[in-house]
Symmetry: C2
Subunit: 153 residues, 2 copies
Amino acid sequence: MPKGSVSLTRSIHPGQRMADAWLDAIHWNPDGLVPVIAQEVGTGVVLMLAWMNPESLRLTRDSGYAVYWSRSRGRLWRKGEESGHQQRVRAIRLDCDADVILIEVEQQGGIACHTGRHHCFFRQLDANGNWGEIAPVLKDPAAIYHQPSQTHE
Amino acid sequence: MPKGSVSLTRSIHPGQRMADAWLDAIHWNPDGLVPVIAQEVGTGVVLMLAWMNPESLRLTRDSGYAVYWSRSRGRLWRKGEESGHQQRVRAIRLDCDADVILIEVEQQGGIACHTGRHHCFFRQLDANGNWGEIAPVLKDPAAIYHQPSQTHE
């Protein structure tokens, strides 16, 4: 998946968006989306879960960098477009029911979460039924974003 | 999360299902569900993604074993109820947007997938745009289930 590569179908049908077989194999939900788990290569840390539509998954494959679909903003979300914390994609995997994707990524900057943490799953249920925090803030969100209060999507 | 433990709210309001604060913290989707990633303790392997409703998540916490909500069957799905491949839950984590759960589990039998594989993400996109298989079948599904063609949910 070299950056800037051009898909075969695009050259066959210039200017036309094709439905590739590999995309057709995926069972998209009624909103045309699929949940995508991003797991860090090497550490195995589950960084986050976000959503993709066919276009964002195609762009992810073609560019080699994770491109999600922002449900709240209703547009493509090139991960790291504001933070610089891009995700270099090393593998794209599909589950048995073809309705969940897992991507293996290298997390640039070591921060996947908009809260400035390594990963998003930093709250853990304790014995008293409280969500405690188990991962530190590595960088102040105010230093990452212009608008620190924004969410992932 | 000892097996058979009784929640505090249950003793306060016998016979009544309470909305616990820790469940209220979760942003359930319009169907009242949340996606749940199951990750294997020790190996870090992402085994599967399934869904929970508040009841199944409460049962998961109270029993210490993963209980999902089967969307296709429209009922609680006690993981391993047919296969014996239960998931002992060691931690329950919540993401930054409070709309994705990650559970750390010990996978009994070493098989999480209904196809008889260790995990569900056994298809990987290759350079030719094909989904290739990267994980072996460890046990014939026909030997696991009476009806081998069933899906996860």
